[in-house]
């Protein structure tokens, strides 16, 4: 009898502990925090340690060499080119995305027949796994069979005696300038849908009474656009662009599939350079050090996102 009563009371006591929110809250949060600490926090620390060592796949002992590895990385001309390219690709493609996305968002925020199919098609570049999307571009930009080249030839713009030169192909990915252009094109293509849907959400969150007031005031389309719509949407446009910046700045798939950094490293970016050094070349220290250069920009952008997003909440 006493034992039973005792057992009942301990059971309820344990039950009551689970009722205590100060206790239950951290317990439920623990697995997620642990997962993130072990598989994000720890690798991040490792990345910093690696960049201060000379670790390679062949010699995985962690010998500290101070800033020597970082110095070697920075002095490599390919790294310098990669750093510059990373910024140029990101800034140019996101500037394009901002302008094109704004136009497209204005169009998509209206109601018209068959909107869903247009929306589906326009969203394809974002919703498709990026490696598979990029490989279809690789085929679009093929050195011999590019359908773009064929169209240019059909319009007599390409080929012997045509304005674009005597060659029968443009070699999109074979010439440095064109490869550069192609990478920017694919990045823009890929990020445009996300920026557009975020901006459409921003447009639809402009209160109806403001829209009505503008209509009553008889403002022209352009005046309304520049004096009402764009100022009101500034925070959300900033958020859209900043996400684009993060995804483009840190992306390596487009370059990896399209050009592998070529021709002769002219389209190399930090992430691909880190991959070729660290994974394919086995130099973990230099790879980690290269990738770490992504971090300051990432941090800055994240801070900006938080600041703008507070002002741009759309439900």
């Amino acid at each position: 009898m006493e034992a039973m009563a005792y057992r009942a009371s301990t059971r309820t006591r344990i039950g009551y502990i689970l009722d205590r929110e100060t206790w239950l809250g951290p317990v439920m949060l623990f697995p997620a925090v642990l997962y993130i600490l072990v598989l994000v926090g720890l690798p991040f620390l490792l990345a910093i340690l690696y960049s201060l060592s000379d670790i390679t796949v062949g010699d995985p002992s962690l010998d500290f060499v101070g800033l020597q590895t970082i110095q070697e990385v920075v002095e490599n001309p390919v790294f310098q080119k990669s750093l510059r390219n990373t910024f140029v690709f990101t800034l140019v493609s996101q500037a394009l995305v901002l302008v094109l996305g704004k136009i497209l968002a204005l169009a998509l925020s209206t109601e018209f027949r068959g909107k869903w199919i247009f929306r589906f098609l326009i969203l394809l570049p974002w919703t498709t796994p990026i490696a598979l999307a990029t490989i279809s571009w690789l085929w679009m930009l093929d050195s011999v069979f590019s359908p773009i080249d064929w169209m240019l030839r059909a319009m007599n713009l390409l080929g012997p005696g045509a304005p674009l030169g005597p060659a029968k192909n443009l070699y999109w990915l074979g010439k440095p300038e064109l490869a550069f252009f192609s990478v920017i094109l694919v990045h823009t293509w890929r990020m445009l849908p996300l920026a557009t849907v975020i901006m459409v959400a921003g447009l639809t969150s402009i209160p109806q009474d403001i829209k009505d007031a503008v209509a009553v005031d008889g403002a022209s389309f352009w005046r309304a656009l520049f004096e009402i719509t764009i100022p009101l949407m500034l925070p959300i446009m900033a958020v859209a662009t900043l996400f684009g910046v993060i995804f483009t700045f840190t992306d390596m798939i487009v370059i990896y599939v399209l050009t592998r950094g070529g021709p002769i490293d002219t389209t190399q970016v930090l992430s691909t350079w880190a991959f070729f050094k660290g994974i394919e070349g086995g130099n973990l220290a230099q790879g980690a050090a290269t990738a770490l250069f992504l971090f300051p920009v990432l941090l800055g952008v994240a801070v900006l996102i938080l600041r703008f997003a507070r002002r741009a909440e759309v439900a």
Partner: protein, 343 residues
């Protein structure tokens, strides 16, 4: 059945004392109303009793046992929320059966119990419906049935009528009170509506700024207010307060009558009442004006039944009187009731 009691109960949210030292004890089977303006701590007090909040200090007793630290489910209480909090994904039947499931009752018993509760509230035909298919009044009954079915020792009701429209509220008030009388379970009822409080409560506890200002029957609260807050919070329009040299003089508008038509033998006090405005409200007439006070004039209101056709015009002065026994006296500094003064 049991009584609920609090001793020196406090609840602080940061620097704010939502409940600031409450000593309260219900009687067996009583309908106790917690009345006060929004933010006075009445809902927090109810949530403390329910176990949804943990007190900063003090004790809560239910049926003579200290229940501090016990989770809500171990307190033998039932609660009806202002929103009714019906489970949207369950039928009415499952809503009512939900507390029984927690007790591990067998399905047959559950069915019997649910039907008993449903018939008590007249909602048998709604059992297979979902909450979204119910009207406001029906939802309220389902919430009551769900509270009833556990046969709790205490009912806690948090403004359960405030989501009903005005017409429905009057009949729901009546039903709820009769229902409580019939089952006889001790009930703590939170409201900011003095009409509900006066009409339903066996006793009313008036709360303000986290403290209980007065507890008593509706008659006591209305006629013998303990301080100026209670005096002016109850009654519509509220009690007139006229400033005198070292005290405040209080009288109810319905006791403030024109001298010419008042036929009273008792001792009276007469005021010169300068009328500024007259409002006709159908059954009543409200006369707004000013009377002479200690520091210049004080505003006052008189409420005359429509059956008194005595002509009153704005802009003119009249003699109004009050029976001495209807005068209340309050301390100027503390607002507390004091004994009669010489006028």
């Amino acid at each position: 059945m049991a009584i609920v009691e609090t001793r020196g109960l406090r609840k602080h949210f940061g620097d704010v004392a939502a409940v600031d030292g409450v000593d309260l004890a219900s009687k067996e089977g009583e309908f106790l109303v917690l009345l006060g303006p929004s933010g006075c701590g009445k809902t927090t007090l109810l949530r403390l009793i329910a176990g949804l909040e943990q007190p900063t200090a003090g004790e809560i007793l239910i049926g003579g046992q200290v229940v501090n630290g016990l989770p809500p489910r171990a307190r033998k209480i039932a609660m009806v929320f202002q929103s009714y909090a019906l489970y949207p994904h369950m039928t009415v039947f499952n809503n009512i059966a939900f507390p029984l499931k927690a007790q591990g009752m067998s399905p047959e018993e559950r069915k019997k119990k649910v039907e008993w509760a449903a018939s008590l509230l007249g909602i048998n035909r709604l059992l297979h419906r979902f909450p979204r298919q119910l009207s406001g009044g029906e939802r309220q009954r389902v919430a009551l049935a769900r509270a009833l079915v556990r046969e709790p020792s205490i009912f806690l009701l948090d403004e359960p009528l405030s989501n009903l429209d005005a017409q429905l509220r009057a009949s729901a008030r009546d039903e709820l009170q009769q229902f409580q009388r019939r089952i006889g379970t001790t009930t703590v009822y939170v409201t900011h509506d003095q009409v509900e409080a006066m009409g339903m409560g066996d006793r009313i506890s008036v709360m303000y700024q986290g403290k209980v200002r007065q507890i008593g029957t509706p008659q006591e609260i209305y006629h013998e207010p303990a301080d100026t807050f209670v005096a002016t919070f109850l009654g519509s329009p509220p009690m007139n307060l006229v400033e005198r040299k070292d005290y405040l003089l209080g009288f109810r508008p319905e006791h403030f009558l024109p001298k010419d038509i008042a036929s009273v033998q008792d001792k009276t006090v007469t005021f010169q009442f300068r009328v500024t405005r007259v409002e006709y409200l159908g059954a009543d007439r409200l006369i707004y004006g000013v009377v002479a006070g200690a520091n210049g004039e004080s505003k006052a209101i008189s409420r005359l039944s429509a059956t008194l056709t005595f002509p009153i015009e704005p802009g003119k002065g009249y003699d109004f009187l009050i029976r001495s026994q209807d005068l209340k006296f309050f301390d100027k500094a503390t607002g507390l009731r004091t004994g009669p003064k010489l006028l």
